[in-house]
């Protein structure tokens, strides 16, 4: 496939790896923000090609992982109601709430459906006027334009039986929360290429300056990640702290203007709780006043739910790159993909799941 396969070329990958090795004179810790990047790194083994001096840590770039526990509980409550058709991206279905997950709700008779696009949920609403269709609107800024469009069209077309359960999170506040933490080890960032495709990257410039960290907007294929790491390491070695764009085939500095306009129309910035981390001010999106009628939390009266996290799950420190999954005492024993304690083990993008699937035996062997 064009614009995919060529970015998975082995020789080019090895060349970039050599370039990185030759450029590095001391150890550096770089965080890749996006779950999609984590997935590619672990799947293709990009980190195996890197010299030992470059350490990649996995950030909270998995909106599935950071969706707060109470929101899953709200989703489960709504999905369990007989009049509801609950539509979601596949990623969310196995994330554990306080006592079960959406797949269990489906097994018990709830009408839970996987959709590829929020517009598919809207079509289901049109086809089922007697039912309430709720869409689980989870995601970073990348998915916000799609979710905005669905709600916008619902209002335009008067589709009253449609609503969304919103859990949008924003990347820059999360990066700041990590950088401002006293236990932060991250020296450079690979920013999320598709988030920046939508939002542009001007909002990262003050962050790079304030915390003196290089930020490289990076794509998702192995070559993108390798080139992103190279550009980041080069900045670190040179003592620069700028925002650069590796993923220029998709990302423009100003981002996608029409998408940003519709996001501003339909959503507003709100504080959001990040699972395992806590509440970060101005770190999420909620529906704006004109679209509150489509807010599922209000429509179904679940806005006041609260929940508490597992004591064993250390997703929070893992999401901040402070610990690696295999350093968790529950990893691979009490916490596995079959019985996860937290979202990072359930989501295919979660660092713990990625480590479990691709690394477990190697790590176990190394411990012996």
């Amino acid at each position: 496939m064009k614009y995919i396969d060529e970015y998975r070329d082995a020789k080019a990958a090895t060349r970039y790896a050599r370039l990185i090795a030759r450029t590095t004179t001391k150890p550096w810790t770089i965080m890749e923000v996006c779950g999609g990047q984590t997935h590619a790194i672990v799947k293709f083994g990009v980190d195996e090609l890197l010299p030992e001096t470059v350490e990649l840590v996995h950030g909270p770039g998995c909106p599935v992982c950071v969706t707060p526990l109470e929101l899953i509980d709200k989703a489960i409550e709504i999905a369990s109601r007989p009049e509801v058709i609950f539509c979601s991206f596949g990623d969310m279905l196995r994330v554990p709430g306080s006592s079960k997950d959406l797949l269990v709700v489906k097994a018990s008779g709830g009408d839970v459906r996987i959709v590829y696009s929020p517009l598919d949920a809207l079509k289901i609403a049109q086809a089922n006027p007697a039912r309430q269709v709720v869409f689980f609107a989870v995601g970073f800024e990348t998915t916000a334009p799609a979710n905005a469009m669905a709600v916008f069209q619902a209002r335009q077309q008067g589709i009253r039986n449609f609503s969304i359960l919103v859990s949008h999170v924003l990347v820059p506040p999360a990066m700041e929360a990590i950088l401002s933490s006293p236990i932060n080890r991250v020296q450079g960032f690979l920013a999320a290429g598709h988030v920046c495709t939508v939002m542009g990257y001007t909002e990262y410039e003050p962050i790079a300056k304030k915390y003196n960290v290089p930020i490289v907007v990076t794509g998702f294929e192995p070559l993108d990640i390798l080139q992103g790491v190279y550009m980041c390491v080069k900045q670190l070695e040179d003592g620069r702290a700028e925002v650069e764009n590796q993923y220029a085939r998709s990302v423009r500095k100003e981002g996608n203007r029409p998408a940003q306009e519709l996001i501003r129309e339909v959503f507003r910035v709100v504080p959001r709780k990040w699972r395992g981390v806590g509440e970060i001010p101005e770190s999420g999106l909620g529906l704006s006043a004109g679209y509150k009628a489509f807010d599922a939390e209000l429509r179904f009266g679940v806005a006041s739910y609260t929940a508490e996290e597992s004591s064993e799950c250390i997703s929070g420190v893992i999401l901040q790159g402070v610990k690696k999954p295999h350093e968790c005492p529950a990893f691979g024993t009490r916490c596995t993909p079959e019985h996860p304690l937290g979202a990072t083990m359930v989501s295919t993008e979660g660092a713990c799941a990625a480590y479990y699937r691709y690394r477990r035996v190697r790590v176990a062997a190394a411990k012996e």
Partner: protein, 351 residues
Amino acid sequence: MASVKEFALSCPIPIDQYPNVLLAHGGGGRLMHQLIETMFVPVFSNPLLDARHDGAVIHLNGTKLAFTTDSYVVRPLFFPGGDIGTLAINGTVNDLAMCGARPLYLSAGFILEEGLPMETLWRVVQSMKRAAEEAGVQLVTGDTKVVDKGKGDEVFINTAGVGIIEHDLTIAPTSVQAGDVVLLSGDIGRHGIAIMAVREGLEFESAIESDCAPLADIVMKLLDAGVRVRCMRDLTRGGLASALIEIAEAANVHINIDESVIPVREDVQGACEILGFDPLYLANEGRFVAFVAASDAERALGLMSAHASGRGACVVGRVTEDAPAMVTMRSRIGATRIVDMFSGEQLPRIC
């Protein structure tokens, strides 16, 4: 600006016991294997069952027979490239072939939902007839039940099959040894995507067809030519990855494969990229892996490639050493990773 807090301590119920069966228990991945290993195998344990192969190999008065069964619950009933009827015949034919048996006789049990149009049943039955003819088997006994509307998904079919083994090879995971070559009969992922596309309403305008096909003939060609086949497995639910992991675990060997040689058609790749699927775990219905003695590998590959069911056959890997039992894969960019079972079904993802 918010900084890191220690998170609140509390203790929820860990979701480790599933009091109810989930769809994932049928997905071909870890959960299904756990179910089989904890619910069924220990209860019925005997040497034939414990061999854990696709079919049981029975020695009866000097004759070697293979016996297998499979149930078919596919939704939608009709999909590009086949239907539940073709699957019902070929699935069982192929399980027999994977034991190195020549499939002979099948039974078919139908569970029909009240209200099923006769026309639909007729189409399925006609498909079964064609598939049976193509595979050279006869349907010799059967059963029919009807359940209340709402209690069955239009049609469920169970087929059981008997075949005869006319050679002296022990074709089972226990025969696999270090140095053996792993052959794959063709490109992967077509069936899984064909089904997913129709079932999830993910309409692709150019339909990908299932690869559903009988494999008895191509297997017989290998055996007749004296290829030392150690073990075979058709790639059904759970895909290439699950088949190899099952064999690695049953045989207690280390299998190493090369991602860059695994054939995936470009349109299947396109669908996988959009849905976030890994083709390694996608269902197939007309593909198999064969573990053969290294010195027979080239000859086997030639025979497979020359056969209609083996176009695109290739060497995907080797059995490298006797332990530990695992499957590793050299990725496209040259790094090696462990291939593990999926815990449930692959779900389309956005992340």
